[in-house]
Amino acid sequence: MKKVFKAFFEKFRREKAERPLSETANTQPSVEIHPLKKSERIIEVQGLTKVFDGVTVIDNMNLAIKKGEFVTLLGPSGCGKTTLLRIIAGFETPTEGQVFLENVNVTDVPPYRRPVNTVFQRYALFPHLNVFKNIAYGLKIKKIDKKVIAEKVNAALKMVDLEGYGHRDVSSLSGGQQQRVAIARALVCEPKVLLLDEPLGALDLKMRKDMQEELMAMHKRLGITFLYVTHDQEEALTMSDTVVVINDGVIQQIGTPKKIYDEPANAFVADFIGESNIISGVMLKDFCVRFLGQDFECVDKGFAKNEKVDLVIRPEDIKVYPEGDEKGQLVGKVLSSIFKGTFYQMEILANEYQFTVQSTKESKEGDTVSIGVKPDGIHIMKKLRSTNTFYGKVTGEDTVEFCGTEFTFNNVDGIEAGTDVEISVDFDAVSLNDDETDGDLGGNVSQTLYKGKYYQVQVYTDTDEDFFTDTVDDWDINDRIGIKIDHSKIVVKRLENEE
């Protein structure tokens, strides 16, 4: 898997090198609602929300998919990608929002009247029917002439390379063959869109590779839209025209595989797609960013002065030079070096940040080296957020209530008790404690993300609020912890509309 992955990125880098610099900065045509003409949209979801037993699986999602494209929904398990697919297929009804197929609202149309077909995760072949009857099932319902059905089924069998397998029992088929039957069964109905729910998940590595290629070839030949769900970033990047990265029911980024890899929209995407070094920094001015205590030239602009940002550096973009070389920007120590076939993967500690580096030249463990990164190797991303915002009420002369707890604050504006207010708490005003009783309120750790030197931790409180903070310690997911807030750093503002 790694090998194909690598080959794929090699292709990227070559393309990048061949093109003039100005062009690389150009954004690729991305699938967003506005740039797509109405006639080009095959699937569109608007304001889609799905809540299961009080848990929001999909959160106000908007997405338009272009006719004829191979689109992949990519995200970690539980991110809502399969639910989105099931809503489009019609197996789930959205809590809110609409689904359009070819600009027709199909939100309330049952699955058996939608012009889409699905290849299920574990194929869901009908075990009581043979291969031929499995594929013919959809056509038989359409009351098509028997002769025509036989022709179409045989053509479908030929397409998936299973000629002569019609009479076979599905239990006699291998995993790969079952998968082909599932694809043939869906495609024989000539759907407008083929939905594929992790169809390669059950196959072994080699078979998966072969099927990837076959699916891509099939997509090219048939010209129908493929909507593909996977948690495998390599699969997504290799196969798709467009990748939709989803996390926590929210679309993080939509773009071509290249754009997603080269210009991740945020730390989550950077972390999820391939290996990367994610570091927090400050944008000093256009084309200049400061991180790890040094200033670096970069190719990004348009940020506020001194705006806090996240930046990503891919392991292959870091160059390693001998100690003292002028080209290096940081001095580091090699912690480990592993040969990975075509390159060495090294962990290099520099300015207290542990870089993951891939290089064709080996540096020995314990060596002191100089490392550098070219301006176009630094990708600046907007920080997802750096303050926590809550809504609450002022309860007294210098007390405010939010998250079900009362805090003292510095009431400089003289806000009177009973006023509804917006409360901002900076990340650095929040600290976490092992013992819940040491904090102002308790919560459960729901996510941690390593950002170099520190972790960004998300804590979910009992009052359904999320606290974000940066800590040097890694916290275990689901741990019960105490949240302590520096009361002097609580900023309270009247709600705008009340003024």
């Binding site: 297929a89 019609g90 197996f91 049952p110 699955p111 058996y112 009247r113 889409v116 077909n117 699905t118 299920f120 995760q121 574990r122 194929y123 869901a124 072949l125 009908f126 075990p127 009581h128 099932y137 959809g138 319902i141 359409k142 599905v170 239990s171 006699s172 088929l173 291998s174 995993g175 063959q177 079952q178 069964r185 869906a186 109905c189 998940g201 059950a202 196959l203 072994d204």
Partner: protein
């Protein structure tokens, strides 16, 4: 090694003793059904005379006919009701499903005599059914249905839930998907349920006695004859015959459940070990 062998030997001896104790009464009955002697313990030489008598005795044949009519109709009704009920229960949410499963078990665990008295009172004071066959079939359907549900439910939860959705996806309406996808896959469990229901009906004495006084089924015939004439030799043959019928039913059940299990495993195995 020798200790292992000893343990193995011991467990085999234990098993043999257990089987002998369990099947001794039945075995004695079976052996003495092939001789004409008046009492058990006397061997008058091998013969099929008792079986000949069994199939020529009008009373016995009537009882057999009644048993078959009631058993088959009650099982058939129970299969239809039970299968549909199982599908309904299966698609419920967890809490109501647990309640339904418990309610289903109550009828199975409840003492027959209580159910029997219940039916008697029901048919005496609430619903009047002029035909004794009908009331017997109704009563037997009620006691058989839970067994069909019990047989079909596990099979339903083994089904790949996506298979039904695949049907909808390919254009089948929910009703069509139910008949063309779900039911065919339930057939083994339905047959097993039918067989189980039939043995329950065949076996029933208490409820039949309380519900109807005129229709004599085999268990009632046996009891009445024992009361009046003592152990007639022909009853030995009848008992063995019933036992053989139940035995055949058991083999059918096991054959079907084994075959579907094997097929399912084969499909899973070919998928390559993943969950």
């Amino acid at each position: 090694m020798s200790k292992q062998k000893k343990t193995l030997l011991l467990s085999i001896v234990f098993l043999v003793i257990m089987i002998i104790l369990t099947y001794l009464p039945v075995a004695i009955l079976t052996v003495y059904s092939f001789t004409e002697s008046k009492t058990i313990g006397v061997w008058n030489g091998f013969s099929f005379e008792l079986y000949k008598e069994l199939f020529t005795d009008d009373e016995i044949l009537t009882a057999l006919k009644n048993t078959l009519i009631i058993g088959l109709s009650a099982s058939a009704l129970a299969v239809v009701l039970g299968t549909l009920a199982a599908i309904g229960i299966h698609s419920m949410k967890k809490a109501p499903r647990m309640v339904m499963e418990s309610i289903n078990q109550i009828t199975m665990v409840n003492a027959d005599i209580v159910t029997a008295i219940g039916f008697m009172l029901l048919f005496l004071f609430v619903i009047f059914i002029p035909n004794d066959y009908a009331s017997l079939i109704i009563a037997h359907t009620v006691i058989c249905t839970p067994y069909v549900i019990m047989s079909v439910l596990p099979r339903l939860s083994q089904l790949n839930p996506n298979v039904y959705e695949a049907g909808l996806d390919l254009g089948a309406t929910p009703v069509r998907a139910l008949f063309s996808i779900i039911l065919p896959q339930l057939i083994p469990a339905v047959i097993a349920g039918f067989a189980l229901a039939f043995t329950i009906s065949l076996d029933d004495f208490t409820i039949s006695t309380f519900v109807s006084s005129s229709v004599e089924t085999i268990p009632r015939f046996l009891y009445n004859k024992l009361k009046v004439k003592g152990v007639m030799p022909v009853l030995r043959a009848l008992s063995v015959f019933i036992m053989a019928a139940v035995f055949v039913v058991l083999i059918v059940i096991n054959f079907f459940s084994m075959r579907t299990e094997r097929k399912k495993q084969q499909i899973e195995k070919n998928l390559g070990g993943a969950k």
